[in-house]
């Protein structure tokens, strides 16, 4: 019936395991600091060099 389909019993027979146990990550504060520095270094490498012009140039027409 037209209820929300995913509440009906159903099972996928192929494909990768679709029910991973959520594993809450709980890294130590120091690891997080190092990690965010790594992220920023990586983003620095690809971020548009002229941020102001890039932002100004991102102009969209309206949509739905």
């Amino acid at each position: 019936m037209a209820g929300q389909e995913q509440v009906k019993p159903q099972r996928r027979d192929d494909g990768p395991d679709d029910t991973p146990e959520p594993v809450p990550a709980a890294p130590a504060a120091q690891a997080q600091d190092t990690d965010i520095d790594d992220i920023l270094d990586e983003i620095d490498g690809v971020l548009e060099s002229n941020a102001e012009e890039f932002v100004r140039g991102f102009v969209q027409k309206g949509g739905q």
């Binding site: 929300q4 389909e5 995913q6 990768p16 959520p22 690809v46 932002v55 140039g57 991102f58 949509g63």
Partner: protein
């Protein structure tokens, strides 16, 4: 269910480039890469009725805003159906990918990600003609314009629409806490500096309505079922953000689907006190504007609650409902949604930053806060706005969300290889399979297709044949796979479908 996404589009260094022409280029370039001629598999508009209102009346065409007239075919507008069952076309000034119909939220994430890869493929091909075109899976330019990521849910026509409005609105006011994609700037044109949870929330002005491009409503009443109209309605949800985090995307579809399931079952009416939110539009914005998640909203009965508290209430109700209705028979998809819902909510109830692996706005905020601290940047700094935009660049190397996912900092539920297969392969358990299979097997015979039809040309006959596919759960691989694969040509397929129909299959 399914997700339709309008992508932001721009040409590096040319802010005034014509977005309609560019969007057409995106569609035709991708179609060509898959061997599809736009005229070959175009859209069949016969059953479209964008002005039909779920409340039971039609809007006159004369009073409709031109952007609401989505059923008039314009030959300059590229519009194709893909072998995965999706529609790829130009919607107003954006390329849009509308995913094929799926039966569960995880497949929703798979075919939504497939759409990102479709756009990425188009960008890569257009890049060979400098300056190329860039595409962004976001929902605002930060300057006053917004474009949508809409979800669609098949519902029973018997469910009173007034109940949907009453019981879904409170959930929609707070859903952004789990599913928002984050935005630098407050107000439609970012006139106030700062950060908020959702891309779309500032663009909503009313509680219920038909419009999608202006006076946007929290509950959209567009009533185009694209299915047997007496049996079904298609709930068209326009308030969500485009997600990059798989977990948030799964929850957007999955938690919403569970809430709709409870509404259809009329479980909430007796299972809970009235959850009606006072001034829901203002509450939507109050919640979005507070990344500390401490802001409260007022319920009609006088209580004040935080967004996470209302989400917890809905989660508890959903868990109880599933237990009551399914007990130990709960399917894997439902169990997965309830588990992630609890995990993400538990993180958000503590230190919201603990949800950075799962929730877009938190992942984005952690990067922005890193920049702010390292370089002492204020919220008005263009670099932070650049991060916000480039976050959603569809390219693997330039899109910041993609880079975070590639380095293991975001939980990936759907590996890229699986999404890549879904660029060409349709879901097997809905009519999308039949639509996609016709295009794959008989590309020269299919003249047009839509959500509820495939139009074919028979050799030597002047009239086209229209095959209705009005039942979303028919036309599956199980039901018609042998017929389609066994048919040597389109005429044989029509004959065997007619014979099967005669037998009542």
């Amino acid at each position: 269910m399914g997700i339709e996404t309008e992508y932001g589009i721009s040409v590096p260094g040319q802010p005034n480039a014509n977005p309609m022409v560019l969007s057409g280029d995106v569609v035709t370039t991708y179609a060509a890469s898959r061997g599809i001629r736009p005229a070959q598999a175009s859209w069949d508009y016969a059953d479209e009725a964008p002005l039909r209102d779920a409340r039971g009346f039609d809007m006159g065409r004369g009073v409709a805003h031109p952007s609401q007239l989505t059923d008039v075919e314009d030959p300059t507008m590229a519009n194709v159906v893909l072998t995965n069952g999706a529609r790829l076309y130009v919607d107003h000034a954006h390329p849009e990918y509308s995913s094929p119909e799926v039966t569960n939220p995880r497949d929703g994430v798979v075919w939504d990600k497939a759409g990102e890869l479709v756009m990425r493929e188009a960008v890569a091909r257009l890049a060979t003609m400098p300056p190329g075109v860039n595409l962004y899976k976001n929902n605002t330019d930060g300057k006053g314009q917004s474009y949508g990521t809409h979800e669609n849910y098949l519902m029973s026509r018997r469910t009173p629409f007034s109940r949907i409005i009453a019981q879904l609105t409170p959930f929609f006011v707070v859903r952004q806490v789990m599913c928002g994609s984050g935005r630098v700037g407050i107000g439609v044109d970012s006139r106030t500096i700062g950060y908020q949870l959702a891309q779309r929330s500032d663009f909503f002005e009313t509680e219920v309505g038909l419009e999608t491009t202006l006076k946007r409503p929290i509950i959209n009443t567009r009533d185009e079922p694209h299915a047997v109209a007496d049996l079904y309605r298609r709930l068209h949800v326009i308030l969500g953000d485009a997600n990059h985090c798989d977990v948030a995307n799964l929850l957007k579809l999955g938690a919403t689907s569970l809430v709709l399931g409870m509404i259809e079952d009329d479980w909430l009416t007796s299972a809970t006190t009235d959850l009606t939110v006072r001034q829901p539009v203002r509450a939507l914005q109050t919640v979005s504007h507070d990344p500390t998640l401490q802001a409260t909203i007022e319920l009609a009965d006088g209580r004040t609650v935080r967004g996470v508290e209302l989400l917890r209430t809905y989660h508890e109700l959903a868990a109880r409902w599933v237990d009551d209705r399914l007990g130990g028979d709960v399917d894997d998809d439902t169990a997965e949604v309830l588990r992630w819902w609890n995990t993400v909510l538990t993180a958000l109830e503590g230190d919201p930053m603990d949800a950075r692996r799962w929730v877009d706005w938190v992942a984005k905020l952690s990067v922005l806060e890193g920049y702010r601290e390292r370089d002492s940047l204020g919220w008005g700094d263009p670099r932070l706005k650049a991060v916000d935009i480039q976050w959603s660049d569809v390219r693997a190397d330039r899109g910041l969300a993609n880079r975070l996912a590639a380095t293991g900092r975001v939980e990936v539920l759907v590996p890229e290889a699986e999404a890549a297969r879904a660029m060409d392969e349709a879901p097997e358990d809905t009519r999308a399979w039949f639509r996609g299979a016709c295009l794959r097997k008989f590309p020269d015979a299919v003249m047009a297709a839509s959500w509820d039809s495939v139009v074919v040309e028979l050799p030597g006959e002047r009239a086209l044949q229209r095959i209705p596919i009005l039942e979303p759960l028919r036309g599956t691989k199980d039901a018609v796979g042998d017929l389609v694969e066994g048919a040597p040509d389109i005429r044989s397929l029509l004959a065997s479908l007619a014979a099967a129909d005669g037998r009542g299959d």
